[in-house]
Symmetry: C2
DNA sequence: CATGCTTCTGTGAGCGTTCACAGTAGAGAA
DNA sequence: TTCTCTACTGTGAACGCTCACAGAAGCATG
């Protein structure tokens, strides 16, 4: 990347130009820019007018050089990228975080670290201080990138409960266990008793908690827990399809199915359809997430809504707080049962 | 955002530290960093060793301050965000651009400009020089943001052919017309003659070109063009469903259907299924894009693949060239017919 | 009148780079 | 020898901002 571009942008006004225009000093303009304390109303007014007139916008590089912060944050995905492509939730999360940050005038840098090399490069980039903090999406058990960043003292907020239960980890998650409980109670209320489950990966807290909620409600209701009704997948559509086939083979009398993600539920629907089971007449199906996959499925999926808009907002709030010096914190948000055609 | 964070990152080494370590001057280190011309092999070696030893990473803010460029680029989406959520192609494009830029060590800033306010804020941000260039995704007819940026002399590359055919516009697009031709020829080769089409929006070049390809092939083949077999949608799933219903009402003898996007084709499948038409036995269905929607559909969609990986790579190449002072250019990439179960 | 306090303002220094320039050393040509 | 040319290296200035500090002005208190 060499300089010069055909369009010929002319150089923008500096804080000096604004100061001259307003008849004050650089320092005063800077104070107005950063909160405006200890500035007389007169000066305040003059500076604002000058800013409008000159079209001044602060040079963030110059600011960052002296403050030592970049006023930008990274959105880091350490999953293999296929998941990113497939799962509609990422979009919602990503866009939610982008907008929440935009409200603070903080740009979001997208960082995809699927391969080993990319991970190294990005870790280096982050620890070099090129971003002030990181929003991390990773359902991995023990994510080495996360550990490395934490060790380097980089403010970090994770989406979803992380595995290693270190208390110094900030994260935001939906109440997986409670959501699962709601869903299974709902299935029970429909008179179903042979309820199968395709859980998430059991090396992630999310996967574990949803399965725990399932077992808990069945036990409470006095329904026997049958291991033949339990399989686990990896949240992908394909694994939902395969898992459901296994369940149908192991427990042909299954009359309901709780699938731990909408994407897997889509796969489940395909498998049930192929096996000639009608949904919801023969088998009631419940998903998890309330992603766009839920409404696109036929029949539309009853599911557990994760409040992604609130999750992204909380992630940003927590991260900014942490950058501001506060201690890491965890936030668990309530889920909501959304009833549609599949139950 | 105030300073200080609990973790306490210690301040990173500067170019000065490296220079001292290597026993050379700042200037020499800088030269090594930027290409290494006019540096003796001895010094080169010493500097590289010092960089490794100190773990030095260049401070991009200081560099940007003096060079005037930010070494970062913006990925701008001016569509309403629902499209972003729904369309799997965006993910592929976004991730492709991110990786192509990563190869040049250039971070990507995600910018979502759905609302009027966001558009203003982002335009301001960009024209202030906080990014060196913009990758724009917008199928809008005449995008006001694009015009404004171009006027301000901001290097810009658009995805998809823009409407106003100004020659100073850089863009990368798939060969829509040719892709459509391939698909319709394929349908004809199956013996189908009553071929319906759900086109894209006709105020976009992409929509127009795909329809043109359709008409062209039919005319060549001596098949009469029946206006009752032509409707248009907006690339959304819902519009595909509605359009297909209209076609079925207007032309019940339709035996094939060319849908201008996979997402709309999913909707078409739903409508056909509801009408009791079997796919592909009664009606052959062809889509466009080869997005993940194509393989997820049942039956899997025959479609026209847009080479999204190459598109994103070309967009980045063109943008960097433009930043380097070259003139805007257009690139049209070939499509490929992918045959699956729906035809 | 001096003193202190509060509110406000201007000034110089410096953040970590790159860039232009000056300068050195060595090789080859006149 | 002396000059020129090439290959390389060091140095000061500047980029645009924030921060610490010094100082001014106004007002109350001793």
């Amino acid at each position: 990347m060499t300089m010069s571009n055909t369009g010929g942008r002319r150089k923008p006004p500096t804080i000096h130009d604004v100061a001259r225009e307003a008849g004050v000093s650089r320092g005063t303009v800077s104070r107005v820019l950063n909160g405006g304390h200890y500035v007389s109303p007169t000066a305040q007014e003059a500076v604002n007018a000058a800013i409008r007139k000159t079209g001044y916008v602060v040079n963030r590089h110059a600011r960052s050089l002296i403050t030592g912060r970049s006023d930008s944050i990274g959105f880091l995905l350490t999953e293999p990228q296929e998941r990113f492509f497939e799962d509609p939730n990422f979009n919602v999360l990503l866009s939610g975080c982008t907008k929440a940050l935009a409200a603070h005038d903080i740009p979001l840098l997208l960082m995809l670290a699927g391969t080993r090399d990319e991970r190294r490069r990005i870790t280096r980039y982050i620890t070099a201080g090129h971003v002030d903090g990181v929003l991390l999406v990773s359902s991995h058990s023990g994510d080495p990138v996360a550990d490395e960043l934490r060790e380097a003292g980089v403010p970090l907020v994770q989406c979803g409960k992380p595995m290693g239960l270190g208390s110094k980890v900030s994260y935001v998650a939906a109440d997986d266990r409670d959501g699962a409980r709601d869903m299974v109670r709902h299935l029970l209320s429909l008179g179903r008793r042979r309820i199968g489950v395709v859980s998430g990966p059991l090396d992630t807290p999310g996967g574990v908690d949803r399965l725990a909620g399932y077992k808990e409600v069945l036990t409470e209701a006095g329904v026997e827990i049958d291991e033949r009704l339990i399989v686990s997948g990896d949240y992908s559509r394909a694994s939902g399809e395969a898992g459901t086939e296994r369940l149908l083979a192991q427990a042909p009398d299954m009359d309901a199915l709780f699938v731990a993600s909408d994407l897997m539920a889509q796969g489940a629907l395909t498998a049930l359809h192929r096996a000639g089971r009608r949904v919801p007449e023969d088998v009631s199906v419940g998903g998890f997430d309330d992603s766009s996959a839920a409404t696109e499925a036929t029949p539309a999926l009853t599911t557990v809504r994760q409040p992604y808009d609130r999750i992204s907002a909380e992630m940003v709030r927590l991260l900014l707080a942490q950058i501001g010096g506060e201690d890491p914190a965890a936030v668990i948000l309530p889920t909501e049962l959304v009833k549609r055609e599949s139950t």
